[in-house]
Symmetry: C3
Subunit: 131 residues, 3 copies
């Protein structure tokens, strides 16, 4: 298992982690297979989407704000209930394909860390599924 | 494959299944690796989120009610169309990390069965991904 | 890896791909295990839900339209920002169980390709996770 650090800078944002995952995949020395990316936090998640235009990641974060308002009479009293809901909508793990030793994403795809209660120093865990 | 039973008690709720999954993982005798949790139902799902404060699970269920209203002119005529939509927003499977024979969740994480057309007796299936 | 083609017919719809995935699983000659289905696109996703009544898939597509409106002041200027958001809500991959050489879905379950910027010719990738 490889653990990576992600520094987030806003309360709610999608941070492109494609490059740090690609570097970690290279260290794992997998030829062909699948890797599992795990977010061990409960107000953060992982998603795959377009990385070419950073406006897409901003639109996803903004849309989640609209779909899950910061204040909506939540029971959880820590002020981050919306972050927990957003994390479950996005999901806390992904399984990514690897080919020829590299992440085998689609042309426009990148991997994003969804921060919903930042800014914070966060962690991601990478494990080999099959190789 | 290990099949587990989950009794739900409300039409819509998140049930903490961390303990029954942890017990099943122990039975599988995996040392290090990943397990796949599959929900074979179409008005239920699986998610990972905070287990320390049960209000978080209630907030997620309530938020899904707000995002996907019970009545919204659905075509499907069985009265549970909202449950199907919620299931797809949450997802019907997760892959969980295992270390030293135990589920290796983050400090605050638990695994939840999302019931969206209960109460019912439901099933979960656990399979070894890699060990 | 097996790559499959999916022709979509609307801007936004869920296309039942259970049969083409089942046929591809048969070609992989897995006995027992898990397969990974990957959508290499960023305005499309994958979900598992009821396949018996096609109204369910239509309700999911319609609900996503309501939750993520086509126009909502998005920054991304290609007119498909809503499609990117919907893709992240649905997810871009699933891991499916295989038993006795066949997809081992629940009684009512099917696998759906979520198109959110069609119609287009799309691709799906199928990889063995474990067998």
């Amino acid at each position: 298992m490889i653990e990576l650090e992600v520094q987030t800078n806003k309360r709610s944002e999608l941070v492109d982690v494609t490059a740090i995952l690609a570097e970690a995949v290279a260290r794992l020395e997998i030829k062909e297979g699948l890797v599992h990316v795990w977010c061990p936090h409960t107000t953060a998640g992982i998603t795959v989407n377009e990385a070419a235009d950073p406006d897409v990641a901003a639109d996803i974060a903004d849309s989640l704000e609209r779909i899950v308002p910061r204040d909506a009479g939540y029971r959880h009293r820590e002020g981050n209930a919306d972050g927990h809901v957003k994390a479950s909508l996005l999901g806390s793990s992904v399984v990514l394909p690897v080919e020829a030793g590299s992440l085998a994403l689609g042309t426009w795809q990148g991997v994003f860390f969804g921060e919903f209660d930042g800014p914070r120093r966060r962690r991601l865990q990478l494990r080999v599924v099959s190789s």
